[in-house]
């Protein structure tokens, strides 16, 4: 995109191509360029440089949702982490646990992925790294019973925060989605205020399927926030813009690496800058 030139049809085309390449999606890309054209006309913008800044502002605006979490969370503040397979749920929990631990909170991790090989061991390592309490069972155990054990332990030991790791599940598998419903019912039975936060973790390299994922998960449990991971790679995570706009749910955090400190608060302007940086 040549910034010092005057706006032309080629400029709009190359912008639309850039959005599609960033996984923003064909429809939203077209809509964004249409909105840009309108604003350019109304404000009398002539240079590519100015138009480019306008476009970034339009995108950042799509990503801006202001929502405040509860002010007085009951103990334990319960965070449920869900998403399809391999997106980074377990790793994200390790990073989030570190954040709470740095704030002096006592945290318990519940290994409710009782299906996948090595899942409980993986979370246990993150628990050790962050000084959390831990609850888990053998492979093949009932996921909801781990959640129940976690609640009992959290209440009994007076933990401030409980984070629940769940098995990756493809959203088109009805029985796996029903299991999530069961987990929420077990939580609510123990404490009707929970879960306080439900984070849907999305892989930053995912294309348009992220929309189907968000729809299906949101149908089963009310999602309160997205986490977009693996943004340290070359994928731009443009699909997050579509999701925020469509569902009115904010992106809470972004994952930028495999290390314990590789989690950042979400900032719409920075996100869009990184997309086109």
């Amino acid at each position: 995109v040549e910034h010092d030139k005057l706006i032309s049809e080629e400029f709009y085309e190359s912008l639309e191509d850039a959005l599609i390449t960033a996984d923003v999606g064909a429809d939203l890309s077209e809509e964004t360029i249409a909105q840009l054209r309108r604003e350019v006309e109304i404000d009398g913008i002539t240079t590519c440089k100015e138009a480019y800044a306008y476009m970034k502002r339009i995108l950042a605006h799509h990503l801006l949702i202001v929502s405040d979490p509860d002010d007085f969370p009951p103990k334990p503040w319960t965070l449920l982490v869900i998403g399809v397979n391999g997106v980074g749920k377990t790793t994200t929990i390790g990073k989030v646990a570190k954040e709470y631990r740095d704030l002096g909170r006592s945290v318990i991790l519940a290994a409710a992925d009782t299906f996948r090989a090595g899942a409980t061991e993986q979370l246990r390592i993150w628990s050790d790294r962050t000084g959390c309490d831990f609850v888990g069972q053998h492979e093949g155990a009932d996921a909801a019973s781990v959640v129940f054990d976690g609640m009992e332990a959290a209440k009994g030991r007076g933990h401030d925060v409980m984070i629940i790791d769940t098995a990756g599940r493809l959203h088109n598998k009805k029985n796996l989605m029903t299991e999530l419903d069961k987990i929420v019912r077990v939580l609510k039975k123990a404490n009707p205020w929970t879960p306080n936060e439900v984070l849907l973790v999305l892989d930053g390299t995912t294309g348009q399927n992220a929309i189907a994922q968000a729809e299906a998960f949101n149908d089963i449990i009310k999602i309160t926030g997205f986490v977009v991971t693996k943004l340290d790679g070359t994928a731009k995570g443009g699909v997050a813009i579509n999701l925020t706009k469509r569902f009115g749910i904010p992106v809470r955090k972004i994952g930028v690496g495999e290390g314990i400190d590789d989690l950042q608060d979400f900032d719409p302007v920075q996100y869009v800058e990184a997309m086109f940086g």
């Binding site: 090989a117 061991e121 993986q122 399927n209 693996k230």
Partner: protein, 291 residues
């Protein structure tokens, strides 16, 4: 059973008796949308729609179908043709030590695919050994060992050593013990991570693989080609395994990887269990891409 997108393509030809320059550009736009929604790389989409448009205008509509149906058939057939060159059956001789190296981004399904391949080839008469070369992800070795245990397929692992050393020792062990197939599971890594790509190159040199399978997640978006290109440039990928195809992601990434890089599709993962591995069928895949 057509999707709404394809129905709208057919509708562009409603009331028309043949395919013309006018009605085709509208229809082509819908096809372009369908392919982009399926995460096909947008350069591949541009090239494909151009060649389909030329073909459709050059053919006479069969009298038994409407121009819309005829058009969809051309698009479908061109996709099958495009993917037809993509499939590749991978077989190994039983009386040698065959080596497979697994590679790909984080979380794409490599470790699971390792156990699936081991089971697949054991059923074909091989004696497989899995080698745990992921020394980065917490409990990665545990994961592979657990998979090996439930399948009764041995896993070579050495905690506390580096990936290259484990790979070398694993190969020596495999040859000594007479395994006919050794599959090296590696850590997920970014194609732009110089240190990790160097590790992969070193493992590659150490084990001299017969096949290097790039495992790609079916839901990968537009970056799929760039990622695969870098992996192929550094460790010559000989095949793609497309995982999580039991989801509803259309999987356009595989089409793009094959078209741009010429790397064929060898298997698709259709579930989390070890038997959830299938050969790749171009015709079924073409239908899936079109939605």
């Amino acid at each position: 059973e057509l999707s709404t997108r394809l129905e709208s393509v057919i509708n562009k030809f409603r009331g028309q008796s043949k395919i013309t320059e006018e009605n085709i550009s509208e229809a082509m736009r819908e096809v372009k949308r369908a392919l982009l929604e399926a995460d096909v790389n947008f350069k591949v989409v541009k090239e494909f729609t151009k060649s389909v448009q030329e073909k459709a205008l050059g053919e006479d509509v069969l009298s038994s179908v409407t121009p819309g149906q005829f058009f969809i058939k051309i698009v479908h057939d061109e996709l099958v043709k495009l993917m037809g060159g993509a499939q590749r059956k991978v077989e190994f001789e039983i009386n040698r030590t065959n080596v497979i190296l697994m590679a790909g981004l984080q979380g794409s399904g490599k470790t699971t695919a390792t156990s699936k391949l081991a089971l697949h080839y054991r059923k074909k008469g091989h004696r497989p050994l899995m080698v745990a070369c992921d020394v980065h992800r917490p409990a990665a070795i545990d994961q592979l060992e657990s998979l090996g245990k439930s399948l009764d397929i041995p896993v070579f692992s050495e905690r506390g050593k580096g990936a290259v050393e484990i790979a070398k020792n694993g190969l020596v062990y495999a040859k000594r013990e007479g395994y006919s197939l050794v599959i090296f599971d590696t850590a997920g890594r970014l194609h732009i991570d110089e240190e990790m790509m160097a590790e992969l190159r070193d493992v590659y040199s150490a084990v001299n693989p017969d096949e290097v399978f790039f495992v790609a997640d079916a839901m990968t978006g537009q970056e799929a080609v760039n990622v695969a290109a870098e992996f192929t440039k550094q460790v010559n990928c000989t095949g793609v395994i497309l995982s999580k195809l039991d989801g509803d992601a259309r999987g356009g990434a595989a089409l793009s990887i094959n078209k741009v890089l010429g790397v064929p599709l060898c298997f698709v993962g259709v579930g989390e269990k070890p038997d959830a591995l299938e050969p790749f069928y171009p015709d079924r895949y073409a239908s899936r891409i079109l939605g």
